[in-house]
Symmetry: C2
Subunit: 267 residues, 2 copies
Amino acid sequence: MSAEPTRVRGRRPPQGDPVVDRAFALLAAFDAGHRSLTLGELSRRSGIPTSSTLRLAGRLMAWGALERGADGRFTIGLRLWEVASLAPRGQGLKQVALPFMGDLEEVTRQHVLLAVREGTEALLVERLSAHQAMDVLYRVGGRLPLHSTGVGLVLLAFAESSFQESVLVQPLTHMPENTPVSPAALRRTLAEIRRDGLATFRRRAPQPLVSVAAPIFAADERVVAALSVVVPQEHAEPRLLGPAVRTAARAISRGLGARRAIGAPPA
Amino acid sequence: MSAEPTRVRGRRPPQGDPVVDRAFALLAAFDAGHRSLTLGELSRRSGIPTSSTLRLAGRLMAWGALERGADGRFTIGLRLWEVASLAPRGQGLKQVALPFMGDLEEVTRQHVLLAVREGTEALLVERLSAHQAMDVLYRVGGRLPLHSTGVGLVLLAFAESSFQESVLVQPLTHMPENTPVSPAALRRTLAEIRRDGLATFRRRAPQPLVSVAAPIFAADERVVAALSVVVPQEHAEPRLLGPAVRTAARAISRGLGARRAIGAPPA
DNA sequence: AGGCACAATGCCGCTCAATGGAAAACAACT
DNA sequence: AGTTGTTTTCCATTGAGCGGCATTGTGCCT
């Protein structure tokens, strides 16, 4: 009966995720270490078959979410950057903060960081660094741990307590040194930060440094971001840095519409 | 015959664009004047029926491309900003340029702009502005005309000649004043810019200002961006600004890997 | 408090856009 | 010319996406 070889081409394969999710999976295949990808890499990293990857990537290119160089490698497109710059917690925040960050940088001549909380990490929204500043730690758009950076501690200290607990439950370590963090000590640190409206974080490795961070309040009186300066240990005069950071943070809060923007305890 | 009311629910409606295009149409519904949208607004601005908009927006939220506030309004999500920050022509460029832009700002105490070409316009990648600087003109992520801004003229002057012609063919006007641009004069201006590696653009309204711009070269020796300072007319000493901008632009080019980065004519 | 307009969400049966394996075209190596 | 890996084209199938409609929620003007 099967004289004819009956083409089995066309049998619809089992499907994966919905199209939209796949499209964004393509975008998520890019990271700091992989800013440009070939079709094959894109396919492997996103887990989508090559042919589907090509079809989808083609659509993303047509819109401008991806670009393709002369060598055939894909990169994130400028059109995506353009709409993404409308993110209130990204560019919107940065726009208000940047001039004040510039002031801080001029005074300290080191690094000035602006970060927000995203999930269980801090996301670096902006960084100003003088030429003569110490080696760079984090890049803009990158993620920082909440429990072992100045900005992270501030964001954690002013987060909802339910979220704090979920973080404190997990085992935490300071990363380059790989030393464990005591939950009790961290709890005490967070209380101090809330009391002072200021966090001071010291790190030994890779270089000894001090980070002084303060919260930034939005119009609804909640903490939306953290501002900090990072200076080398020997350079440090935290007693002088504290007021400077707090003042800048307060100025930014006022720029965001906060009225009673705190930064110091009522008494 | 039609005794039964025969439910016509379910008849598949005529479809619009493919899903992926629609998803990005949702993102494109946001702009500088509309950073947050209700479901209805999002639906109207993207041309997608409400129910479909809700379903799609839900998926975008699950991924983090959109966020929804307590008031039900949608905004661009931070996760999108995060991947978009990997765009080589956006953040990548900015990362190299920022320190040198900072130097320029400190000297001039006014605006420093960094822009790339995107389609027939310039896209503002970064802007530094001192507090005491004159009123702000453009925002980061916004678009500028090629033919009536300093950075735009540089990008146009160093673009492929086929593209230049396509621009020169169209009728152009300087915008706030609404005066027409003479193609012959523009052609001469572009030739001068190529010769000098420097553009000087003056504008009367809304305030008299001078913009001095220089090209930034990438590793392949092509112009990928333009750098400029914008200062008020009375303040201006273009003879001094020129070398400063050119030096900074050259430093950035070198940072991008350009070896023979020009900025002045060979002789 | 009733009526009106608009916004947001839930529901569901129909179909066509999206699907991935196969194979061809292309490239870069021996 | 053979081997290996990447990119692109082709296509028969089918479940994910479709939007009209109904319902509920929310302000605003009588």
